[in-house]
Amino acid sequence: MKVAIIDYGMGNLGSVRRAIAEIGGSPILVEKPKQLASAERMILPGVGSFGDGISDLRRLGWADEIHRQVNELGKPLLGICLGMQLLADRGLEGGEFQGLSLIPGEVVRLDTAGCGLRIPHVGWNSITLTGSPSRLFDGIPDDTDFYFVHSYAFRAVNQADILAYTEYGIPLAAAISHRHVFGTQFHPEKSSRAGLRLLQNFIEYKAC
């Protein structure tokens, strides 16, 4: 299974590549949008800020090609951390930016969302599955810990798009999906065995 890891200059790409290889996938770091055509799955990683991320995605032609792959070809996409946040309609990090609009919602700072704890939210936190049907958490029980590190949170418009919550002062969307587009606020590539299982579920996912 060829898995394209989108290299737009942001993120811990080495870790993502290594995790995909570990579960038997064939990771390809893609540096040009047209390379996405050769892959069966796409991963949008990312650390950094929303504004920089989205402007790089647009400037380098990724945004259009990702839309084409997702909407016209039905190719599954997984956004990780900032990569998940970029799936939203808009982000409010250092201004207001239009996102990829692949999952309805907006991205706000944790304290704006009502969290009164230390920011960033860093470390292992347990998830609560919402029961929204998804294969992404096959074999992963409620209350499993995943590794989070973020200062902003995804507020989804449709509750049904939220697959799992985590609690950090307030409930936060830990994983979301809309059709064959997925996002995890946590880092599956750094969440040890539970994370590898989730990535395995993603590459084995088949659209119905």
């Binding site: 080495g14 870790s15 292992w124 810990d145 040890s192 065995r193 299982r197």
Partner: protein
């Protein structure tokens, strides 16, 4: 619920791991790669690896080795040592680091902290402070592996690092380092109060009780230890059991078989 992390710290010098006492009298611990493999197999919460001579000798870290280490690590991996430019961070992230730790370079060029946070995000920047207790009762920051006094007060510097965009603070007591006499709780608490960032306590852990104190009495979000894990039978898993028994939330390892 967010868990308290137990983090083994690995100090890397030339070809192997070392551990000293008060940043001196280095003892060889063993090769790096097997240690990382063991910690990964044991599913530790996180690993920190610092090249302790990169800064002293003005070298860059050995990226190829970093990639070999990162290839064996499926938990968060923070790497530090000799980072003075944005390009170093980019190369480390490409090699498989998840976070970078900056210490010495930040004093000479505080803008580096902002630049890293802006480019790669606060979440990938662990600001590391090495501190000594002075005779007048103040804690002062030291750079270059504890060899150079910066004249900065720990509290002020921690706040500045937060304002400039650091994502976490790793606070190490040089006085307690390697002594296994316990963390300097007053120092840790000072930093915890000064910033609204997660604070990792480091320097002095000699038993699990010390870790409990750092969390429950000083407010640390995570505890780091080196000698305790290198030179005794203690393990991160046992440490977490002891913390859990004291009512501290710790991460339970994922039990399902590996896919």
């Amino acid at each position: 619920m967010l868990k308290v992390r137990v983090i083994p710290t690995l100090l890397w010098k030339n070809f192997g791991l070392v551990k000293g006492v008060r940043f001196d009298s280095w003892r060889r611990v063993g090769p790096v790669l097997p240690a990382i493999k063991v910690y990964n197999t044991r599913d530790v919460d996180e690993l920190v690896l610092v090249d302790i001579i990169a800064n002293l000798e003005g070298q860059e870290i050995d990226y190829e080795s970093v990639q070999d280490f990162a290839d064996e690590c499926f938990v968060p991996f923070t790497i530090g040592g000799g980072i003075t430019r944005l390009e170093h961070v980019q190369r480390l992230l490409h090699a498989g680091a998840d976070k970078v730790s900056v210490n010495t370079a930040a004093y000479a060029d505080p803008h580096l902290v902002e630049a890293i946070a802006h480019r790669f995000g606060a979440q990938c920047l662990v600001a590391s402070i090495d501190a000594r207790l002075m005779e007048d009762g103040d804690y002062l920051c030291f750079s270059h592996s504890g060899t150079v006094a910066t004249g900065r007060l720990v509290e002020d510097w921690a706040k500045e690092l937060e304002n400039r965009g650091a994502g976490e603070i790793l606070i190490t007591s040089i006085d307690r380092d390697g002594t296994m006499q316990g963390y300097d709780l007053r120092l840790v608490e000072q930093v915890v109060r000064a910033v609204n960032l997660p604070v990792i306590a480091s320097g002095g852990a000699g038993c699990y009780e010390h870790m409990r104190e750092a969390v429950q009495e000083a407010g640390a979000s995570a505890v780091a230890a080196a000698s305790l894990f290198h030179f005794t039978e203690s393990t991160p898993a046992e440490a977490k059991k002891a913390l859990a028994a004291a009512g501290i939330p710790v991460r339970n390892n994922f039990r399902s078989p590996r896919p």
